[in-house]
């Protein structure tokens, strides 16, 4: 799975939580939770969604690496060996 696949899966999960999200309106290199207005319950569901979509169990200790959307893609790519 390459980064484009990961990006697409991640967006799919995100849109399940924030259906009104327009990916162009989010700065992929800035902290995104505020931009998308995700609370901690949404964020947990995002992590659960990634787990289901990509079979990656993300420990809480790694949440700090998910601060930007590009950061999420990089993190997932690292975990998946992409």
């Amino acid at each position: 799975m390459n980064r484009d696949d990961i990006r697409a899966r991640m967006l799919g999960v995100l849109k399940g939580i924030a259906p009104e999200l327009e990916e162009d309106e989010v700065d992929w290199d800035r902290p995104w939770r505020g931009q998308v207005d995700l609370d901690s319950m949404d964020f947990l569901n995002f992590v659960v969604g990634l787990h289901q979509a990509l079979q990656v169990d993300i420990p809480e200790a790694d949440y700090g690496r998910l601060k930007t959307l590009n950061g999420v893609v990089e993190y997932l790519a690292g975990r998946l060996g992409a």
Binding site: S40, M41, L44, V47, I58
Partner: protein, 402 residues
């Protein structure tokens, strides 16, 4: 003959639009089963039946908007024969003779029964001469809604029963109604909050709660769990409030007819902001008696269904106190507005490291949260309010016992 009436699903609701029937005439239904979906200002709501029966007649068609209290459907009570339509009254007989004697019921109870959509004739009365009291009405209405008080019949117990719907209902969004919903929800919130500010003499208290132990416990707990079983601090906060209500019943209940009616159970209303704006505060039933894992699962389920616009009538009817958590949005402290007819609301701000002087007089940075209480001065005073907040604080110092 039982009647399913359109319940009032909030202090501000006076009508609803029937979207869909989930049952057919002749179908056997069990208590707690979803009968129909009704569109209110706030959400599409699954309306549940509060007693077993067999559907006789559906009186309102999908698409119709009807006032609260309207009979939506009639049902035959268990044992009542479907083949016995009311015999045409002989012309000579006085019309009233065919009817059962009128139930004795207090005006307050009758009014409440109408609000709740409960048919008075079917409520067992506990008052003098079998009169139906306000409490009887509340109990009858709660019967459909409090699974802990009366476990729902297991499928095995009545093989003919339709299976209970899965807890997670499919999103019942009504695309056509979305723009209208926004304006309606705003109006509904305006009506409820204006009434609250007009009628309820609020008093406000706040207490800083150290969360070092709770945070460490949570971190350790979650490190050992797969992502699907992790807890959020919100679950601990909610549970602590529910438990505190046991020792402070004057914050858990309703102000009705110029008097406080304490609630028998703790159904914690969870204020949930909706992505398109507005909010809804459905009940997490019996929050005080459920283990944290279950509180977390139900909280997550409530949030998802609230945002998908798919809540159950019991969830909107039942909150006995509300908890609002605005910490994610960054606020330090919440000065909340009570949702009538409730008498208290507990707010939590952001969990963040703040300066804290511990028991040894040492100044340290410790994760804390500011818990606030807005309560009804007709029911309680600041002294008890302060003790209530202190109880919440103390409970949060022992997260393993929550």
């Amino acid at each position: 003959m039982l009647e399913l009436r359109l319940p009032s699903l909030g202090a501000d609701m006076d009508e609803g639009k029937l979207l869909e029937w989930k049952v057919r005439p002749g179908e056997h239904v069990v208590r707690g089963q979803v009968m129909c979906v009704v569109d209110t200002a706030k959400a599409a709501v699954d309306v549940e039946i509060w007693q077993d029966g067999t559907v006789a007649e559906l009186r309102v068609q999908p698409g119709e908007t009807v006032p609260v209290g309207t009979i939506l459907a009639t049902l035959l009570a268990p044992g009542e024969s479907a083949a016995a339509p009311p015999p045409p009254a002989p012309v000579t007989a006085p019309p009233a003779a065919a009817r059962a004697p009128r139930r004795r019921i207090s005006p307050a109870a009758r009014k409440r029964a109408e609000e709740l959509g409960v048919a008075v004739d079917d409520i067992p009365g506990s008052g003098p001469d079998g009169a139906v009291t306000l409490q009887d009405v509340e109990l009858a209405a709660a019967g459909a809604m409090a699974p802990a008080a009366a476990p729902r019949p297991a499928p095995a117990a009545s093989p003919a029963a339709a299976p209970l719907p899965a807890p997670v209902a499919p999103p019942a969004t009504t695309p056509a109604a979305v723009p209208d919903h926004q304006a309606e929800m705003r109006r509904a919130i305006a009506a409820a909050m204006s009434r609250s500010k007009r009628e309820i003499p609020h008093y406000y208290l706040a207490l800083t709660v150290p969360l070092a132990r709770a945070s460490a416990w949570l971190r350790d707990h979650n490190a050992r769990r797969p992502v699907t079983e992790r807890l959020l601090m919100a679950a601990l906060l909610l549970k602590s409030v529910a438990l505190a209500c046991r020792r402070f019943p004057e914050f858990n209940g309703f102000w009705r007819d110029e008097t406080f009616v304490p609630a028998a159970a703790v159904h914690a209303g969870v204020a949930i902001s909706l992505r398109r704006g507005g909010l809804v505060a459905p009940a997490l039933h019996d929050a005080d008696g459920k283990p944290l894992d279950q509180v977390m699962r139900e909280l997550s389920d409530l949030v998802q269904r609230a945002r998908a616009g798919s809540l159950r009538s019991s969830e909107l009817l039942e909150p006995t106190i509300t908890v609002t958590n605005l910490g994610d949005a960054g606020a330090d402290v919440v000065h909340a507005v009570i949702y009538p007819p409730q008498v208290a609301i507990v707010g939590f701000g952001a969990v963040a490291p703040r300066p804290w002087v511990d028991e040894d007089g040492e100044l340290r940075a410790v994760p804390t949260v500011i818990a606030s209480l807005a309560a009804d001065h007709r029911v309680s005073d600041g002294h008890r309010g302060a003790l209530f907040l202190a109880e919440i604080r103390d409970l949060l110092q022992h997260p393993e016992s929550l």
